[in-house]
């Protein structure tokens, strides 16, 4: 079973994502900000991280950079999942090393197709 870490400061979004991911046979972990997510990744790397952009404490972008610099051996795939839907944001995310990008709102098929693209579903 693959593991997905859902990183979002909204409990509701985490719940929705968890629900979809569980129907896709993922084991789901949650984090409320980038800092928590980083700790979680360093402790036990998940297969994939579903990452919000705007969060308190540590933003998605800062998390991504920190993850890159952490020297973590098995870097999880990172799928941004955000309401920042402009081209500039998307390009910046790719440049920072995101593997995929999901614009909110999204549905099950979209998320499933993106997870397939990064090779975890």
């Amino acid at each position: 079973m693959k593991t997905c870490l859902v990183v979002d400061d909204s409990k509701v979004i985490r719940k929705v994502a968890r629900h979809i991911l569980e129907t896709l046979d993922f084991e789901v972990r949650e984090a409320g900000d980038g800092r928590e997510a980083l700790d979680s990744c360093l402790a036990t790397p998940p297969d994939v991280v579903l990452l919000d952009w705007n969060m308190p404490v540590m933003s998605g972008m800062d998390f991504l950079r920190a993850l890159k610099n952490s020297g973590i051996e098995q870097r999880p795939k990172v799928v941004f999942c955000t309401t920042e839907n402009g081209m500039a944001y998307i390009r910046a995310a790719i440049e920072a090393g995101a593997d995929e990008y999901v614009m909110k709102p999204f549905d099950r098929e979209t998320l499933e197709s993106k997870l397939q693209i990064v090779g975890v579903a």
Partner: protein
């Protein structure tokens, strides 16, 4: 099943037979409720009070603009970019192998039942990125019975939902621009596809022979005799040794001798030489 009750049996039959006559698509009993949902916007747009009123108008004229519109909204046009990734990997491999066989001639691909364009545009992206081994990018002809779907394909304009389903983000930023919250394919991508209206059950195929035909998720709701006819038609448009790609769960087995399962590519079917040649000679 509210819809099914609200529409009288006779009205349902009329609408069902209109769709089948025009496109070959049968509405399965368990999907009949969709008729009402699908037709609601048509009623609103035309200021018709009820489905019965719509059926009354259709009875008056079963051809013409209203009938076209009714048929159009009842067609299942579900699709997505790179629908079934494995199929696209195999298309790329098969096309490369075929191109090596045919030398300098330009490879020809037909996307039959292309819906709103995601399938042929996916192919166009694939081959734009995979120039090596191809003297010219393959020709891509995309057809559908639905004029509305084709218009959307030609415009190459997609909602946020449509664009991110199946399309890798790098390709999205490479080939699309955002305009008013929608995603519009770059002209140099759309230009790689020729969109044409064609009814698989009534019209001649696009002229010339194709090396590869994709006809995915189109024949699912055709009757068996109709599927046989359409396989004949597809066989007449493919060169001997060419490949036919059907949707997951669709097969030629037991329906035609023109195609046999490919050994090299799973779920692909190879056009048997003589039969295709005979048909070609017959016109």
């Amino acid at each position: 099943m509210i819809g099914a009750d609200a529409l009288s049996g006779g009205a349902m039959q009329l609408i069902g037979s209109l769709l089948e006559q025009r496109t070959g698509q049968q509405i399965a009993a368990n999907r009949a409720w969709r008729i009402e949902t699908a037709l609601k916007p048509v009623l609103r747009e035309r200021g018709l009070p009820s489905l019965d009123a719509l059926v009354g108008q259709l009875l008056g004229a079963r051809t013409g603009e209203l009938a076209d519109q009714v048929v159009d909204v009842l067609l299942n046009q579900e699709t997505s970019f790179f629908r079934d990734v494995a199929v696209h990997d195999q298309v790329a491999a098969a096309a490369t192998a075929m191109q090596a066989e045919i030398g300098n001639r330009r490879l020809r691909i037909w996307s039959a039942g292309c819906s709103t364009g995601q399938e042929p545009l996916s192919l166009a992206m694939l081959f734009a990125e995979k120039a090596e081994g191809f003297p010219m990018p393959p020709e891509i002809v995309a057809t559908d019975v639905s004029a509305a779907a084709l218009a959307r394909g030609r415009a190459g304009r997609y909602s946020q939902f449509e664009i991110q389903r199946g399309l890798p983000v790098r390709r999205m930023v490479e080939w699309f621009d955002t305009v008013d919250g929608e995603w519009v394919a770059r002209p140099e991508l759309v230009r790689r596809v020729q969109f044409r209206q064609q009814n698989l059950t009534a019209d001649a195929p696009p002229p010339g022979k194709f090396d590869l035909i994709l006809c995915r998720n189109v024949m699912l709701y055709f009757s068996l005799p109709l599927r046989r006819q359409v396989f004949d038609r597809l066989a007449s448009a493919i060169r001997p040794g060419g490949l036919l790609v059907l949707g997951a769960g669709e097969t030629v087995i037991g329906l035609t001798d023109h195609f046999t399962p490919s050994e090299a590519y799973r779920g692909f079917y190879r056009a048997s030489g003589p039969a295709a040649t005979t048909l070609a000679a017959a016109g």
